[in-house]
């Protein structure tokens, strides 16, 4: 019951947050100069007026705003101005599953390898393995993924022909983009795991466990890792939301038809419904992920009780 009330409260807060986001985005959109119809191509006033009327851009701003709120409350994100045969729902409905697939594989790969690297370095603190994996992690953090992507394409695809260059159709096509995309998050997770793991390993209860004669395996995984994972779970919310909704650069380089491009191109093209649609979609997703993280906290650390307000 407490849990239910907690969820309802979170839902209400989420709705208010979304409304604020929509409003701010709308204000920003109408403030930025430019129009979706400004083009290098010839045009004239009548044509421009017809286009504006077609997309209701000639209405007063408050009308546009109210119309938008009305549509969005019915989960209708409107038509895309730059792809007139498609609605924003179509675009996101098509792009999101692909971005999600790429993101999910990436995240699993990054978390698993990151945590393992982190544990190894913590257990072999200041040993060769530690330096190797942390060196690897530092490289992973410092090299931007688009450099990695270009390098992979040049060497692994074009020169040695192990993998296809680009597009998204078979598991072989997925290897390079996933590798390029996962390296950064993996490195972050590895470093985070290592530092918290080191901290945890020096604590009294671990010494106690050792003294009790538990196996190192059990100590590491049952007692230490569980606490060491908390910060990793914390960053997972934003990481998931970011990666699962697509990444502009990687999708562009590998010609993956995900939704990452809409975040960037819609703004350049002033495709207002798409700007709003991607923003709302991303925000909703992020809010949901953060909620998920809070719930996972409770599972990993029974001391954290969600439904009790802090301090109560």
């Amino acid at each position: 019951m407490d849990m239910l009330r907690y969820m309802l409260r979170r839902l209400l807060i989420a709705l208010v947050t979304l409304w604020i986001i929509v409003t701010i985005t709308f204000i920003l959109m109408v403030t930025v100069p430019g129009s979706p119809f400004s083009d290098e191509r010839s045009s004239n006033e009548a044509v421009q007026a017809n286009l504006e009327a077609h997309y209701n851009l000639d209405d007063p701003y408050y009308m546009q705003y109210l119309l938008y709120l009305k549509n969005i409350s019915m989960l209708d994100l409107g038509p895309s101005i730059k792809q007139p045969n498609q609605t924003v729902n179509d675009l996101l409905g098509r792009g999101f599953p692909i971005s999600f697939e790429l993101g999910m594989i990436t995240i699993i790969f990054a978390v698993v390898s990151g945590v393992v690297l982190g544990i190894i370095s913590a257990l072999r603190h200041n040993g060769v393995l530690d330096y190797l994996s942390m060196g690897f992690a530092v490289l992973g953090i410092s090299i931007p993924n688009f450099i990695l992507a270009t390098l992979f394409i040049q060497k692994l695809a074009a020169d040695w022909e192990f993998f296809p260059v680009a597009t998204w159709s078979s598991p072989m096509h997925m290897v390079l983009p996933v590798a390029a995309l996962a390296t950064g998050p993996m490195a972050i997770i590895a470093r985070l795991t290592r530092s918290t793991m080191l901290e945890v390993l020096t604590q009294d209860y671990i010494k106690m466990a050792r003294a009790k004669g538990l196996s190192p395996w059990k100590i590491t995984f049952k007692h230490a890792l569980r606490n060491a994972l908390m910060p990793v779970v914390t960053i997972m919310g934003t990481l998931l939301a970011g990666i699962l909704t697509g990444t502009f650069v990687i999708e562009q380089i590998f010609a993956i038809p995900g939704m990452g491009k809409y975040f960037v191109e819609s703004i350049n093209q002033r495709d207002y419904p798409v700007i709003m649609g991607t923003t709302v979609f991303y925000s909703t997703f992020l809010i949901f992920m953060l909620l998920l993280v809070d719930i996972v906290y409770g599972i990993i650390d029974p001391r954290i009780k969600l439904h009790k307000k802090g301090g109560e």
Partner: protein, 558 residues
């Protein structure tokens, strides 16, 4: 729960360790055996592909469209990514031939009235839609009125304004019935023009004037959105269309000239990264590609490079309502200070031509000469003259010191390089220091439109094959003017240059107009555009028109 967690982690750890070891193995292999193994692999792959194609006997061309077409509705997709494919799926009354001249397309022949106002087109008896329906005059009437309907909001609608009653209808002041395009009978179409336009047959090659199967469209207004419902009358038909991924065209057996078409299939990928598409070309996944700017020096002289003219101009607009460019001599001085050869050769590269006039080469006059050759060089590089003109201009305006000048461009690497070169040239040849300013595209266009910029970058791509297309931008209060320029003599020259029925005379007006534009120096031409494409061995016959959209009707692949 706890046991489950431990189990899960163990499984994951093992999985990763396994993955790591295979990864390492793979890494070793690459370093040890890459030299021997890789070529072998590629060799077998190529032969496999080869036999596959030979066995089925299909000629498949693999192209890259860059991105998803905006729309395959001929009235809506007003850009190259839509009209390039569309030009191969459909056909207008006329079609550009191998000499880039408007030739019979869906229309077999036509009659033009004495006064140049009434065109009567006779459609081919064997012109059919890909669903088997005959192409009828009503299909054109339907398509054009649909384009002009203000409700459609077609960005290309202004191209239809040559037709009587079209402008009024599109601007919301007239009705569809007053648009003077009528189906006399099934295969005869009559069009009345607002004023004579000697280039109307050329305008008709534009995809905006393609017919629409009115029976199909009336039943399903979204007929153009998916491959299943798409109906065309061109050399190819839309076999499949996976949005954002790929379009596949197949030869259209219903096309009247199907015997000429050699390709069986065309794949249009949508790869929007210049490097990626180049690598795909290199690895044989694409048959044509553009040259990534970084590799231009290295690749431009290769045997597999096609370089052709492209009807377009990069130029800078002077704002004649802002100081100091209200003065003609100061404007001229800036133009004289620019060394266009250097910009074309060392800055823009990729084989582009410097522009010494506004109209790019490739427009053939009624007497068979090239517009550019007849009108010659209208601007030049002359530092001495530049300095003198600047002095005279400043004296006329009573300037002791030139007001501050900002040169604006929309953000892009090439634009930046050109702007910086110009800045250097102005310092060196004029002793004037201009400030550079780059703006995001939308912001930039709005500022230019509102005459807020002094000297700003611009470009023009032709919509139809006539010099008037560019020149009329600068008539008084034109939407495309963007300079504040207004000159009665110029307006009159353009009016005559559009409507004079004697073609030779009409061109005379246009020659005069271009000269006047250069003399007044309203815009400073920099360089012409071109088309540069890498084509793999065995690909031939892709028609790339200087003005218009590419044509694969005659294309072949060995």
């Amino acid at each position: 729960m706890k046991k489950f967690l431990v189990f899960l982690l163990t499984v994951l750890t093992i999985a990763v360790l396994a993955a790591c070891t295979t990864g390492e193995d793979a890494g070793e292999e690459t370093t040890d055996e890459s030299e021997t193994e890789a070529p072998e692999e590629s060799g077998t792959e190529e032969t496999e592909e080869g036999t596959e194609e030979e066995s089925s006997g299909d000629k498949v061309l693999r192209l890259n469209n860059g991105i998803e077409p905006t729309s395959l509705d001929p009235s809506i997709g007003f850009d190259q990514v839509s009209w390039d494919p569309l030009n191969n799926l459909m056909e207008g009354l006329t079609r550009l031939d191998q000499e880039h001249v408007a030739a019979p397309g869906a229309a077999e022949s036509w009659d033009i009235s004495e006064d140049g106002l009434t065109y009567t087109f006779h459609l081919r008896e064997d012109a059919n839609w890909s669903n088997g329906d005959p192409v009828v005059a009503e299909d054109f009437v339907y398509a054009w009125k649909y384009m002009l309907d203000p409700e459609t909001a077609s960005p290309a609608a202004f191209l239809g304004y040559f037709i009587e009653g079209a402008e009024a209808y599109n601007a919301g002041d007239g009705s569809a019935d007053d648009v003077a395009v009528t189906a006399v009978d099934e295969k005869t179409l009559e069009v009345k023009l607002e004023a004579p336009a000697g280039f109307f047959l050329d305008v008709l090659t534009n995809p905006a004037f393609f017919p629409v199967n009115h029976k199909v469209a009336e039943e399903n207004p979204d007929w153009h959105a998916e491959a299943d419902s798409f109906v065309g009358n061109g050399p190819f038909m839309l076999e499949s269309w996976e949005h954002d991924v790929e379009m596949v065209f197949a030869k259209n057996p219903e096309y009247w000239d199907a015997d000429t078409v050699k390709l069986d299939q065309i794949h249009f990928a949508m790869v929007n990264d210049t490097n990626t598409q180049y690598q795909m070309f290199e690895s044989g996944e694409l048959d044509t590609a553009s040259i990534p700017p970084e590799l231009s020096d290295q690749l431009i002289d290769g045997d597999d490079v096609f370089i052709g003219p492209y009807g377009g101009l990069e130029f800078f607009r002077f704002n004649v309502t802002a100081e100091p460019f209200q003065n003609k001599k100061i404007r001229q001085a800036f133009s004289y200070a620019v060394n266009r050869d250097d910009i074309a050769q060392y800055v823009v590269k990729n084989g582009v031509e410097p522009a010494y006039g506004f109209i790019s080469p490739g427009f053939t006059s009624p007497t068979g000469e090239d517009f550019r050759d007849v009108n010659g060089d209208l601007v030049s590089f002359d530092a001495e003259q530049a300095k003198q003109l600047l002095e005279e201009g400043m004296a006329e305006e009573g300037y002791d010191e030139l007001p501050a000048i900002t040169l604006s461009y929309n953000t892009s690497d090439t634009n930046k390089a050109v702007a910086e070169t110009l800045q250097d040239m102005f310092i060196e040849n004029l002793g004037v220091e201009v400030t550079l300013e780059n703006q995001e595209w939308g912001v930039f266009v709005e500022a230019q439109q509102n005459l807020e910029l002094q000297l700003s970058r611009s470009s023009f791509i032709n919509d139809y094959n006539d010099p008037v297309n560019f020149l009329e931008s600068f008539i008084t209060d034109s939407y495309m003017n963007r300079t504040g320029f207004s000159n009665e003599e110029y307006d009159e020259l353009i009016a005559n240059g559009k409507s004079e029925t004697d073609q030779e005379k009409r061109w005379e007006y246009l020659y005069e107009a271009e000269k006047l534009l250069a003399e007044e120096m309203i815009a400073m031409p920099i360089r012409y555009y071109n088309t540069v494409v890498l084509e793999s061995d065995g690909v031939s016959g892709i028609l790339r028109h200087p003005v218009g959209y590419f044509d694969l009707k005659y294309a072949d692949k060995q």
